[in-house]
């Protein structure tokens, strides 16, 4: 088992990083009066862990007995029936799913499947009707239509069904949904908190940590606990015993983008643009999300630029990322950004050095 899973706290009481939030959630459950919840915050900040612990607090150890199902649903879409494939994770009292997986058909998931799930009350061994929790991941990726479809469902079955929604950016969740939930912000853990977690894992694994090593990993993690633990484990695999100046390997794709950035800085020409295109394709083929590529590229380029140019370049990055959202082929827009950058940079070089 990976360390990220092995050291995931199981109960609200074991949670250390967002202890205040965890205790508040515990209070909500104990008061037996819990509104719908919307968790939001950057990725790797620990939302999932909190949600799982919360469900355990609600239903006890039976919530640990989950089964994964991959089912094809037949959904009646007006004139025809469509098949929607969906993976769910469920226990007796809860179901977890990611409705945005269905892409542009997400509306049907909300209208048919989620509503069905919300309607059906679980019955316990004594024949008593129980309560139900639906966990929906990535709600910020749901289409507007699907979000609208969720609204009344949240009200109608609220006497026994609670929704727990998770997302990265709550700006993309419509006001109507946000106003139906208790909004819980989960910030990325601070470097110090990450450091403590790493130390704890090190101790449990019986590892010797040279001074400064854990804090360097924490520093490089971008406040993502998941990332920190992953790279900690990678280091462990690469070289143990640790040495204090041991390199903390960046992700492969990040290294690749660093290379792309320096190539762009070295030469601005159609030929170079063509070479870069090949590399961008490679990243996309490996399922690195296009906006992540663009952001990382911007990050690398900004490191090498004069203050004046930074303003201009970050503007164009925002501009092309927006266009990418509206368009269909990500490569066009990333490449347009690279071309734009080359032109700006070349103009700058010529005007400064002639």
């Amino acid at each position: 088992m990976l360390w990220v899973d092995k050291y995931r706290p199981k109960t609200l009481d074991q949670i250390t990083v967002h202890q205040d939030v965890a205790q508040n959630l515990k209070k909500l459950v104990n008061e037996q009066d819990c509104p719908h919840l919307l968790f939001y915050g950057p990725s790797g900040s620990g939302k999932k862990t909190l949600v799982m612990a919360l469900i355990r607090q609600m239903f006890g150890p039976s919530a640990d007995k989950v089964k994964v199902e991959n089912k094809t649903w037949k959904v009646d879409a007006g004139t025809r029936t469509i098949d929607i494939e969906l993976t769910t994770l469920s226990s007796a009292n809860h179901v977890e799913l990611t409705p945005s997986d269905a892409g542009f058909q997400d509306r049907y998931i909300v209208q048919e499947i989620i509503k069905e799930m919300a309607k059906n009350r679980p019955i316990d061994s004594k024949g008593k009707r129980g309560h139900k929790v639906l966990v929906l991941n990535d709600v910020d990726k749901l289409s507007r239509e699907a979000q609208h479809s969720l609204r009344r469902t949240m009200e109608k079955y609220s006497s026994y069904c609670r929704l727990i929604l998770c997302c990265n950016s709550s700006s993309r969740v419509t006001e109507a949904i946000r106003s139906r939930c208790l909004n819980v912000r989960i910030n990325g853990p601070t470097e110090e908190q990450i450091f403590k977690v790493l130390e704890y894992i090190g101790k449990k694994e019986g590892l010797q940590l040279p001074s400064g090593f854990a804090s360097r990993i924490a520093e490089k993690s971008n406040r993502s606990l998941r990332r920190a633990i992953l790279s900690f484990e990678t280091c462990r695999v690469q070289q143990y015993p640790f040495v204090s100046n041991q390199a903390i390997p960046p992700m492969d794709w990040e290294e690749y983008i660093t290379e792309i950035a320096s190539e762009i800085m070295k030469e601005q020409s159609p030929k170079r643009l063509f070479q870069v295109r090949g590399k961008l394709y490679e990243l996309l083929v490996n399922c690195i999300p296009p906006e992540i590529i663009l952001k990382r590229l911007l990050y690398e380029l900004l490191k090498k630029l004069d203050a004046e140019l930074k303003h201009e370049v970050c503007h164009w990055a925002a501009y092309y990322e927006h266009r990418m959202r509206l368009g269909q082929k990500a490569i066009f827009h990333i490449e347009a950004f690279v071309a734009k950058f080359m032109s700006i940079y070349k103009t700058f070089l010529i005007s400064t050095f002639g």
């Binding site: 104990n30 309560h131 479809s149 609204r151 109608k156 700006s171 993309r172 106003s179 970050c314 927006h322």
Partner: protein, 336 residues
Amino acid sequence: MAPLLQSSQPWVEKYRPKQVKDVAHQDEVVRVLTNTLETANCPHMLFYGPPGTGKTTTALAIAHQLFGPELYKSRVLELNASDDRGINVVRTKIKDFAGVAVSSGQRQGGYPCPPFKIIILDEADSMTEDAQNALRRTMETHSKVTRFFFICNYISRIIEPLASRCAKFRFKPLSEEVMSKRILHIGNEEGLSLDGEALSTLSSISQGDLRRAITYLQSAARLFGSSISSKDLVNVSGIIPQEVVDALFVACKSGNFDTANKKVNNVLAEGYPVAQMLSQIFEVVIEDNDLQDEQKARICKKLAEADKCLVDGADEYLQLLDVVSQTMQVLRSIQL
């Protein structure tokens, strides 16, 4: 192990008015519907207005008051965005429902029970135009025995031929006074204590949306106990602490790109919603007396553009960084 949520309902549902006369602040529609209860007749209706102002509440209340619990199922059809409302459904489901004859208008069990059926189309603005067009004919064919209630946030998304067949009622955002009264009432029932400051904070952060106010109230009560302060409410509302907004603006003024970039990164790592950040920057800019009008205008224009991009789903970091960078450039133009 505590069994979750005995039979508890969220407060928004618990305190949803059951009778039309209890709907606050929407006098016009309440007057017309009270009249309906006496005459047992009404036109098609269109309710529109921002979230949490009582539209769904009013429609459900009048339907219940007209027909009572027994007839409700057979006389009222509620369709909302959680139902598929493509053309087919509009054609078949509504037709089937409207097609079954109703007995003559006799009072039953103390309810008026007028001789028509009510079809509530909640969240109608999310219906496609085609589906709305298909409704036109259905409305006409069955006009004797049905009344339609359309409910939406944006009236502009309802096609004109439908809108013109209805009596339209705009639901206003609730005024601070009405909101405070409702909140105090709930607070009393739930045994909470709220001071004046908390009340006015609650009204201002929920901006006329009573549902939001009630959700905040319940959240704060559950998290921080029964005596609720203004700070608790801000805490559960997702509003960004003023220090964070100010710090970002100060970084803009500093003129150093890297400092500002770091602040932007921090805003995202803390998980603050960027859309919210934009509207709070807007407040800061408007109130800043050091800025010239033209500068304010240029920053606001950028804020508006970024807001639109966010609605389109653009990346939060890039948009905020762009806003900050342009703001820096605008601010620098003072010294020139």
